[in-house]
Symmetry: C2
Subunit: 314 residues, 2 copies
């Protein structure tokens, strides 16, 4: 396979520099903890200060507002749920505090359009926007097993490389454009949910034909589809394990919506994506938005009149 | 993962017995050649006798009609394109020639409904129907790397186990029902085409956003989706290699149609499957039915106004 513009950064040895970290949810907490472990002095901010407690015990310094995490010319990392949160937090105040030479490392899954707006906004303050969305669930974040996709200005990416390495197992670059890494992240999440949907439809067909879904999915995931995504989600489908929440159906809907908006803006018809977006919308309408995103698999089953999962009060 | 009814046969050592082999297409020829190599005396039949030539040079005995491949109480293997071909060839004449104790090993991708009809028909002659559809392209057949799914009567499966081993790298059993292995085969082909469609939609989105599809697919297939199906088809998508035909779009349409009929008969709504079936139908309508099934990927690209592939006279 020809790798096109895809390349690995050369490693460069640098000393850990102070970092401001905003967003201490399920993903942000273990990521910040890994920065601390790697020797990065951290100032942390979270809307709900309680979530900073364990990190503060590990040496992080809590501050009372987003702008206070920033040092002049320093680096700030955001791990936030959506476009609106990133755009409201990484606004004028934060950029003024960062000032010329500052870098905003944006690790949330947001739209390429928001990344373009942020990049243009930041430029007015001399702040570089580095897109660095991640693949991996909270367990992977804790184990420093995230895959990090980057795009943005080359010198800013080199500067934050050591910090990104402290949070992940691999860094994959997609060039200069502020939105590029976000397109890759949305594409990856789309492929992941498409795989869940296909497995779920096939598992429903098997069971309606008296073949246990465990038999079908064990065969497929031990042979043609022996890779992390299929193995992990086949397991969840077999166990109907949708309540061990790493990433909610509501956030998966958000990603499908952002991908569909990006597709519309770039005139790219994506029929499977549209189907998945509506599947998640139906799950939210039926009170399942706060379950794990893998609850998507229950849709094909319940359409077929199968009960894999006792939704309880949902 | 709990494996349910899924298990490996215990190996039993047996001497190769004479086998009748019907269907010497792209798949049948290398499969028959592997039986010869493993010491099975073969009688072969193909509608177009030319295709038997190389096998005859390797020691196979050509015969002039399907029934002539059969010995009383013997084993006959069919590798044919569709339900109609199998049902017309494995009819009264063949079953009368096989007679009591005979076994029909049906390795084609056919519908579970046809398998049930064949099983019932054969029972009237004392002939066992063993479903044994295969996963793998002609290259895999030549390399004895096929995955073979089986279902049917246990004693007949044990009898033909050595022959199946001579043709594949693994045998995966799904119980007694004549249709079960065919449901698994159709499900696997559905998952495979769903993976192509999802990769193609994502690749189109990437390119419409100035990211080379090679970069996106290299990243995804080296990380989350590092398995044979994704690697093989990502490569074909990047190279727009749809003319190296292992398995035609027309046959893929047939599989999606059979899966959809099985879904309808078992009241299993499968929206992704329906979409894929219509994608293939559109490809056939546009003169691309004889290209490789991976030409599916071109549909998402051309919908987005991208030209990955010069379809030439098609």
């Amino acid at each position: 396979l020809h790798w096109g513009r895809f390349y690995w950064f050369e490693k460069e040895q640098r000393m850990p520099e102070p970092i401001g970290f905003i967003g201490l949810g399920n993903m942000g907490r273990p990521m910040a903890a890994n920065l601390l472990k790697a020797g990065f002095p951290l100032k942390v901010y979270n809307r709900t200060p309680d979530k900073a407690r364990a990190l503060v015990e590990q040496g992080a310094r809590p501050v009372g507002s987003p702008a206070e995490v920033a040092s002049p010319g320093g680096v700030v990392v955001t791990v936030l749920p959506d476009d609106a949160a990133v755009e409201s937090i990484a606004g004028d105040d934060l950029c003024r505090a960062l000032g010329a030479g500052g870098v905003h490392v944006s690790m949330s899954t947001i739209s390429p359009a928001a990344a373009q707006r942020l990049s243009a906004h930041h430029a007015g303050f001399g702040v570089a926007y580095v897109a660095a969305p991640v693949f991996g669930r909270p367990e992977a974040a804790a184990d420093r097993m995230l895959r990090i996709c980057t795009s943005g200005p080359a010198d800013a990416k080199r500067r934050v490389h050591l910090a990104l390495e402290a949070m992940g197992q691999g860094i994959y670059d997609f060039g200069d454009a502020p939105g590029a890494a976000h397109v890759v992240k949305l594409s990856g999440n789309f492929l992941l949910t498409a795989a869940i949907e296909a497995m779920a439809e096939a598992a429903a067909l098997a069971e309606k034909n008296d073949i246990p879904r465990a038999s079908l999915l064990a065969f497929l995931t031990q042979t043609l589809f022996n890779c992390p995504i299929y193995n992990n989600y086949a397991n969840r489908i077999v166990q109907a394990d949708f309540e061990n929440v790493g990433f909610t159906a509501r956030l998966a809907y958000k990603d499908m919506r952002l991908a569909a908006e990006t597709a519309a803006a770039s005139t790219t018809p994506m029929p499977t994506l549209n189907l998945l977006r509506d599947r998640y919308l139906a799950l939210i309408a039926n009170g399942k938005g706060d379950l794990d995103a893998s609850v998507l698999a229950n849709a094909a089953a319940s359409d077929a009149g199968l009960t894999w999962f006792d939704a309880g009060p949902h």
